[in-house]
Symmetry: C2
Subunit: 203 residues, 2 copies
Amino acid sequence: MPERGRPRSFDRTAALRRAMEVFWAKGYEGASLSDLTTAMGINSPSLYAAFSSKEALFLEATDLYTRVEGADIWTTLEQAPTARLAIEGFLTRTAKAYSQTDRPQGCLIALGALHQDSSQGPICHDLRRRRAENHMALKRRLERAVAEGELPADFDIQTAATFFSTVQHGMSIQARDGATHAALMATVAGAMAAWATMAGDPA
Amino acid sequence: MPERGRPRSFDRTAALRRAMEVFWAKGYEGASLSDLTTAMGINSPSLYAAFSSKEALFLEATDLYTRVEGADIWTTLEQAPTARLAIEGFLTRTAKAYSQTDRPQGCLIALGALHQDSSQGPICHDLRRRRAENHMALKRRLERAVAEGELPADFDIQTAATFFSTVQHGMSIQARDGATHAALMATVAGAMAAWATMAGDPA
DNA sequence: TCCTTTTTGTAGTGATTGATACATAAATAT
DNA sequence: ATATTTATGTATCAATCACTACAAAAAGGA
């Protein structure tokens, strides 16, 4: 039991959530230590004692984001009864999540660190790994649908997974531009129009 | 004729192009004055004398980008004989441009300044305006196709323009993740599958 | 009651940020 | 030739960056 020493005077998880929101809104580079400590309500020595460094804090923040904000979208993908409903639910929930006005628009994983400087370190590597994981989750769901006979054996899983994953990334930028929920749903409608052709559906 | 005083010892346009490449690779925030002056081969007083500020330099750089790098994509959109070929050419040229290995991947306009800090100033406003202009160009091309009878009168232009524009934005992130030309073309194939449904084509 | 352990707030660290002061250099104008 | 105008290189500016040294505070263990 590490119950020795002066107890921490703030809620570590609550502070982490605040940090996540700052990174989400401003990106890794754009979030200064000053921004972070202000939002978290602590001084920098407390931040470093609890989270080690800005980099480690960001990695913890993306993990929290994946677990809290991303869970709904990805469980929908896996639990929907058909692949079509899985993809449609995945995109529909994305549209809803990305257009919430009580939090930053778009996705932390997609937008958090896209440029060269932040790319070289572990930050961009971590985000890329998470994006690749999402792509794999799409592939797995489509593979399952082929295995279950819902989709034809010659269904191009790789193309479809890449396409839907890219559409979701695009929706992050669209959301950052202030797109309404309705505008994001227009993109979903477009993507589902592709499904009809890919799967050979009449509608 | 402003031929008075000591002549400038560097090529202003060449230096601007170098600055554009730095902003393209690192984003507005990520590009430091030191990065810029090094790439441009000049000292900071020369940069400020010729371009006024980092902000003004960025605005000039995005203008150059639009004229030089974007021209090919957007003339294709307008000059293709049918709307289908216009959209397909637009996306195909995007895939090619975004995956070139001799320059930064993805689009400066889409990726240059997505976060809050840079958003509030004129930088993000300028990029948003340019992205909105691209969306309008897509709409105009589709409107023309409806007017010419190529597309049915009830074709949902707004939805289609938003969709294809969002796909292009997603391709920027995909390209930043190191996607090959073939991977980007998979996204194009997906988007064109949507066209088939939208326009009621058999293929 | 001490001693140890950990956190806290204050006040800084050197490095880097975007942007300039200033003297010198190099051109035209008179 | 002298004056005027503009550009250049050196050497900075104050502000902010991520990060920490240090001593006081607050807990448990002896």
